[in-house]
Point group: C2
Chain length 114, copies 2
């Protein structure tokens, strides 16, 4: 199930939809760096799993709205907790990394004298 | 940061360590299907990021214990919420998938008469 291992853009899309209904290009502009294909696939997966609704209007040009469902809002709250956890512990993680890296044996590459 | 996008085995290892200190092979036996290499890399990443401690004893054969740190326990609670969310919504997700798949146009492959 998607929610067990979210894709690269899954939680970013969920977070963007916290503002309410959004169109494809609104999402794409707000999500710097996402490709058309990645956004299309992520939205399709989220729609298929029931976290997002997709509403198409027969206007010219055609208009498509995306919005969170009830379980989509639940996923948003979980994503927020995850991000808050990451931010809260960012310094501790970086310090742990520095300690770990400093404790690793140095690998000396002998360039030789040729 | 690892915690932003956990690897395949990250949360499984964290969950196994809820029981307390564990050795490598205890973890490996409890985590059916994990390879030696994957478990080694996951533990190393968790140690480097400060979520797990690794304690080596100079016994023969050498003994290595793994345990959760404080922020490791925090990550465990978050992982539990994530799993509870997934279980709570599994039926809703499966029903959404059935509806989505049923709504997709059938692609008929014309085998031709040759």
């Amino acid at each position: 199930m998607l929610v067990v291992r979210p894709g690269k853009w899954t939680l970013v899309v969920i977070s963007e939809l916290r503002q309410g209904t959004r169109r494809f290009n609104q999402l794409r502009r707000a999500m710097g760096g996402v490709s058309q294909k990645s956004l299309t696939m992520t939205l399709r997966e989220l729609e298929r799993d029931g976290f997002v609704t997709r509403t198409a209007f027969a206007t010219i040009p055609p208009r498509v709205d995306y919005a969170l469902t009830e379980i989509g809002v639940e996923l948003l709250h979980l994503a927020d907790q995850w991000r808050a956890f990451a931010l809260r512990n960012r310094d501790a993680v970086n310090e742990a990394r520095d300690r770990f890296d400093a404790s690793q044996p140095l690998i000396v590459i002998d360039e030789g004298d040729d």
